[in-house]
Amino acid sequence: MTAPHDTTTAKYWKSPAARAGLREEPPLPGVNRRGFLEAAGFATSLVALGGCQRAPTTIVPALTNDTDNVRPGRARSFATTCGGCAAGCGMLATVRDGRPLKMEGMPEHPLSRGGLCAVGQAQVMELYDQERLRGPLAAGKAATWSEVDARIAAALAKIPASGAVRVVTTSTSSPTLRRAIAAFLKRFPDGRHVEADSVSVSAILDAHAATHGARRLPRYRFDKANVIVSFGADFLGTWISPVEFAAAWKSGRALPHREVVHEHGAEAGGAADASNAHAPAKTGRTDAAMSHHVQFESRMTLTGSNADVRHRLHPGEMGLVLSHLLHRVARLAGESGSPTPLASPSISAAVLDALASRLWENRGKALVVCGANDVPTQTLVNHLSQLLDAYGNTLDVDRPSQQLRGDDRETEALAEELASGKVAALFVADIDLVHDFPGGEAIAKDLSRVPLVVSLATRMDDTSAASRFVCPDEHPLASWGDAEPIAGLFSLRQPMMQPLGNARSAIESFAAWSGSGGTVLSLVRATWKEVAFPRQAKETDFTRFWDRAVHDGFVEVDADIEKLAYRGFDPQYVAAAATGKGVAVVLHPQIAIPSSRHAHNPWLQELPDPITKITWDNCVTLSPRLARELGVADNDVVSLKIGDGVVLELPAFIQPGQHDDVAAIALGYGVRGTDRFARVGPQWLEGRSTVGVNGLVGVNAAPLLRFGGGVVQYVRDNVQIAKTGRRHTLATTQLHDHIEVPANVAPPGSKPRDIVQETTLDEYHQNPAAGAPHAHHAAEGELWPDDHPYNGHRWGMAIDLNACSGCSACLIACQAENNVPVVGRDEVARHREMHWIRIDRYYTGDDDDPAVVHQPMMCQHCANAPCETVCPVLATVHSSEGLNQQVYNRCVGTRYCANNCPYKVRRFNWFDYVHDDALANLALNPDVTVRMRGIMEKCSLCVKRIQEGKIEARRLGIPLADGAIRTACQQSCPTNAIVFGDVNDADSAIARAMSDARRYSVLEELNVRPSIGYLRKVRNATREEGDV
């Protein structure tokens, strides 16, 4: 990596010494975080002050000198590694005035390739969280580190030689942390590091142990696959490493730029005109490479919603269908070995035949993934992958994933050990055993019998509450750390600010308890020197190696891992069908709240689930038919009962596309402490609380989990569902799901609205403009062609619906960038969410088994904007660069503009939204205002970034380069679905996108001439298969 990072704001810093104010090298004695916060304070006072009277405000300059690196008001980006989940994506943190503000993806990072998911971006909210523990606790009381360390040491000293010492963490790929834990455990004869994942893929590793001889999680290469078959794996949403997979998945489906083929050479008009000369040849048929994605799943996942072909499948039948598929492929491969008569599956033989031959034809380029945490099923997948020559091609086991390595057997064993009282000391880091694991309540009881329980949780979770000592880990944004998500990919984490309290990195804590001590920086450096540095030959000097790592954020070195050998084709087919098992309940992670760790994040809680569009709650989703049979409607509270007596009461939500014998519940809700959100929204006469009857946000579904077959079972059969008669309103951001209007009010002969346009790959090959419902209107003349010429820049955006997976990372990017307030459940239920960008999710076709499309929707910046005409006070007008500007100062709040917006993208400040948490306010972007009540707001196309880009280019005396300005949503998008730029710049990516044959405007017939173009979705399936 040699090219300097070029972002809109700044270069990364080169060495830690050059940067002032961090914990390691305080530049001036006595500079503490207060100095920085006060320095930062002057930016917020700008926002807070107003009115006509002049109350004196103060400007408090930083105490330290203005070094070359810190300029008040200038933001700079630093490379680091995301700590949001175990995936370890590369991240750029934008830091201004000593505080990290905005998390963005790192384009050069080999895993995430520039994207960053919603969770990763929302970390700032967790950093600036009032309730994050900021100092050690002993027996619930604040203590000092030396005191706590001494007491822990004393307790450890009392452990007999036979005493079991267990360190439980979530999967961690951090070499330093693993070393620190190992060093700590070395002292104890029976010391073990247990990795436990709240959502486990243990079965995949176990299956590889069976077929390849080692517990190993392959790295899935979706970018190398021509055919992707997923059995319930939500790899675009929550499975293992969604950002990495989404980027790779998209790169296997990217369509080349093609323009409309005109018979008479007529132009498509508008923005297309200028760029035609520079465009590649206008071609007829091209064989655009696009992978074929088939999804078998029981519930509607984000991945399923993006599949070319989707089949509903009972979770209990997955093994059977896989067996059939494997059997067919084996026959094609000439492998014998299908002696077992198999039950016939619900998927038709023709479908399986076609799929098998498609897979076989694409062997070496086929990828079969399975989300089931079931060893026999995963073993079948491994055999199938072997037959399809996937290992070494679409599956990488030589540089495997280390992102998830949890072993459910060990977790189960730990639970048993706890129950038997064998454990003498337990250290729990980054995982909530009590809340997230089977038998959590029993674990809570057992914990009280363990002589020493130390929790390293960052907040008071159920496990911490049952621990004697809480030694909070520092937030990933405020401490050093590292990760090795893929064997040989060392990713560094560096602090972005001075710690806000007295928390201590887990690395440092374990080092302290093992007696070796050391600061986290010295420990990380030591690890890198001893582990990473020797595995590469590029740099010979460790300091240079280290500096490069700090600058780049990651280093690629040799993987130090043994090769695997396939043990031979010997499948144990799953013969049984799923019949007779009644309704199964499927427990799954939610995209917004992938684990209970993030339940305290208001941004994520208010992030609508990409499929259900529900915020602030989990629920039990039922298929329309099952709901009909049970007589359940949306928002009815139902009770779920499984034979062994667990009863759960949750509101129901009808989810089209779900299997009829499945009820699905999201994990990670009902978390201790979420009662804090009871009053998160505006408080008024009819305002309702954000929390449910249990006083928490959502209900914890983990009590339904069980150990079985050596794994945690996320599917439970024979669940009894009954109505309770109570209702609980689920706050959804979308009321009408279908692209067609309701049948009772549909005009006779009406067709679905062509808001989202799509076509099939075959049709696209015939005609790149296939799927357009009518001829382009844009070419028709303007009424006043000379009045508004747009001679300078003209900003535009194109959104590739074929790339957009609906993951909603852009929502959080926008929220962080533009200070979008959190409004709470009641306000969302009243359809008053404030997100500037939303993702419209439409169902098409059959209600029970629909196809799904996702469409990001934000202000379209129409050239003939209906909103502008109606504003009486000129509060929304058009800029000379084609932006629809919203001027908060001038807005009097008639809401006429919002009414007249055909896209309904304007958001009104119904109340003064809460901004009284001074700490949380540190996450506010000082370069964008915080709007008061009574003001309309909406997407500004990140005009702050546009201004910044223009001013910087002018300052440096260079022309504004294409791509120098990136909007927040564009930056974050894992699939690069969003292109932004100057349409008047004929060489720009946006001009090319705007002239693409797939490009269309939503509601083109209104002739409002949006500046946002959409690129038509293409499904690699026939119309029959894909429900197009």
């Binding site: 505006p682 008024w684 006469l685 009819e686 979308q734 009321l735 009408h736 279908h738 209007v741 309701p742 009772n744 009010v745 549909a746 005009p747 009406s750 067709k751 609205r753 808001i755 009243r830 359809h831 008053r832 419209d840 999710r841 439409y842 469409q855 209906p866 005409t869 109606v870 504003c871 009486p872 006070v873 000129l874 007008v877 001038r890 807005c891 009097v892 709040g893 008639t894 809401r895 006429y896 919002a898 009414n899 007249n900 055909p902 896209y903 309904k904 304007r906 958001r907 009104f908 400040n909 119904w910 109340f911 003064d912 009540r933 009574g934 003001i935 309309m936 939503v1002 509601l1003 209104l1006």
Partner: protein, 469 residues
């Protein structure tokens, strides 16, 4: 010298009941109309006043709460940005139309029967426009900045206003309408104020009347100019009446929202406004007639004529409903078709059918003479029309907004108690003002009634002139 109750002498003029019944002399008119102002208020008045003032108080409290807390206390949302607020606005503007219509338009058409009702109708106009004017003000997110609607020189560049916005047109139309209506009303009131002034020699009332009557002495030269200017005002007010609701309708007609974007709106709104205004005038007149003992001034003939007018307007409104549906069907525009089907069968269907039944079906009973002459029945019909016209505006505003182009953004709307209280409060304001008006201002234009006392059919004038010649 002819009697005031002159029988028409020619067959050309079929016998008509007199405009003013009860053989009144000029002095009777003065006395009977001034009496309610000079005596103590009746118990009925007090009851009405207390009820109205309580409603007003409720409204004041709810509006204060709303302004202090935010528009969020209404049930609006990102999709339905206007609900009760603009519904009430259009409703009250509509009510405010009959007054000026009766005063000005009927004056131009020389409809002498207007004299008994024009004063009250004009007052009603003023109060209704006041009620209407409050809603655009409080519906703003930042009502304290409402003065930004006016184009005044400022230190912002200067930054003017958007003269292309229908809301600016509205601002000009409503304020002009209010000012001109107030002027028209006051101008017509001057001679009557002089009458009150001259009846008493003492008291605060006399002092106020002396100041406000501007030294009116009934001189023929003044009357001569006064009549001309009154005619001019009527001539100006007539197109003004039509312009106001035309402009109000443009708030919707110039938008892009299906169900709003339609050229039928100006005439449709004007007809609807007159319809609702007449209904409210009828409601009030029937009440005032009973409670203020004005049976001789507001006669069956007045009510009958008003009923006929109302019936015809109801038919126009019904025609508009039908035309809208037909054009939606005929246009082939799926969005437009959907909006109308959604009105009739969607979530707000009850509101739609309430509107149709109240505005189109029920007024048809007015074809029957017995109904028109049964004041109780007419009263009930007028109440239904008032309800129906409120729902018409609700239907237009809310059903069009709640489901427009992108199904993803479809939403519902349900009013909060604050909105309901504000609506009640606006009625409170209206009736409080009206009751105060009944107490302090002659409810019937004495000078005008005196002018027609001698002229049932006005044959006497002609006859006299002929004799004199």
């Amino acid at each position: 010298m002819s009697s005031p109750h002159h029988e028409p002498s020619s067959a050309l003029y079929p016998p008509e009941p007199p405009l003013i019944a009860g053989h009144k002399s000029l002095g009777d008119v003065t006395r009977e109309i001034c009496q309610p102002l000079e005596g103590r208020p009746t118990r009925l008045w007090w009851i009405g006043f207390i009820v109205a003032a309580s409603a007003l108080l409720l409204g004041v409290v709810s509006v204060t709460y709303q302004i202090a807390t935010g528009i969020g206390v209404w049930g609006l949302n990102k999709t339905v940005g206007w609900g009760f607020d603009i519904t009430n606005f259009v409703f009250w503007v509509g009510i405010g139309h009959a007054g000026t219509l009766i005063s000005a338009v009927l004056f131009l058409f020389r409809q002498k029967w207007r004299t008994s009702v024009n004063r009250a109708a004009e007052a009603m106009t003023l109060f209704a426009v006041m009620c209407a004017g409050i809603f655009p003000l409080i519906h703003m997110g930042r009502p304290w900045l409402a003065y930004w609607f006016a184009p005044y020189p400022n230190l912002r560049g200067p930054l003017w206003i958007n003269f292309k916005s229908p809301l600016v047109w509205d601002f000009f139309a409503i304020s002009t309408y209010f000012l001109v209506s107030a002027l028209f009303w006051y101008f017509g009131l001057i001679p009557d104020l002089a009458t009150i002034r001259d009846r008493n020699r003492r008291g605060l009332r006399t002092k106020i009347c002396r100041a406000l009557s501007l030294g009116w002495n009934g001189s023929a030269r003044t009357w001569h100019r006064y009549e001309t200017v009154y005619l001019l005002l009527a001539g100006l007010a007539t197109p003004l009446v039509f312009s106001v609701h035309t402009i109000v309708s443009m708030d919707f007609a110039t938008s892009v929202i299906p169900g709003w974007h339609t050229t039928i709106f100006p005439p449709y709104f004007v007809a609807g406004a007159i319809f609702s205004g007449l209904a409210m005038v009828l409601t009030l007149m029937l009440v005032a007639r009973k409670t203020m003992r004005l049976e001789h001034y507001i006669t069956a003939r007045h009510v009958d004529t008003m009923c006929k007018l109302m019936l015809s307007m109801g038919c126009v409104v019904g025609l508009a409903y039908g035309t809208e549906f037909f054009i939606a069907f005929y246009s082939g525009n799926p969005y437009e078709q959907f909006v109308f089907l959604n009105r009739a069968a969607g979530p707000f269907a009850p509101a739609y059918w309430t509107m149709v039944i109240c505005n189109v079906v029920i007024p048809q009973v007015l074809w029957l003479k017995p109904v028109r002459s049964n004041f109780a029945a007419v009263f009930v019909v007028s109440i239904f029309v008032n309800i129906g016209m409120w729902f018409e505006r609700f239907v237009i505003i809310v059903t069009s907004l709640h489901r427009d182009y992108l199904p993803s953004s479809w939403a519902t709307y349900f009013p909060t108690i604050i909105e309901v209280a504000t609506l009640i409060g606006s009625f409170g304001l209206f009736f409080t003002c009206f009751l105060l008006f009944c107490r302090f201002v002659p409810v019937i234009a004495m000078a005008e009634v005196k002018g027609v006392l001698h002229a049932p059919g006005h044959r006497s004038d002609v006859a006299q002139k002929g004799e004199a010649a």
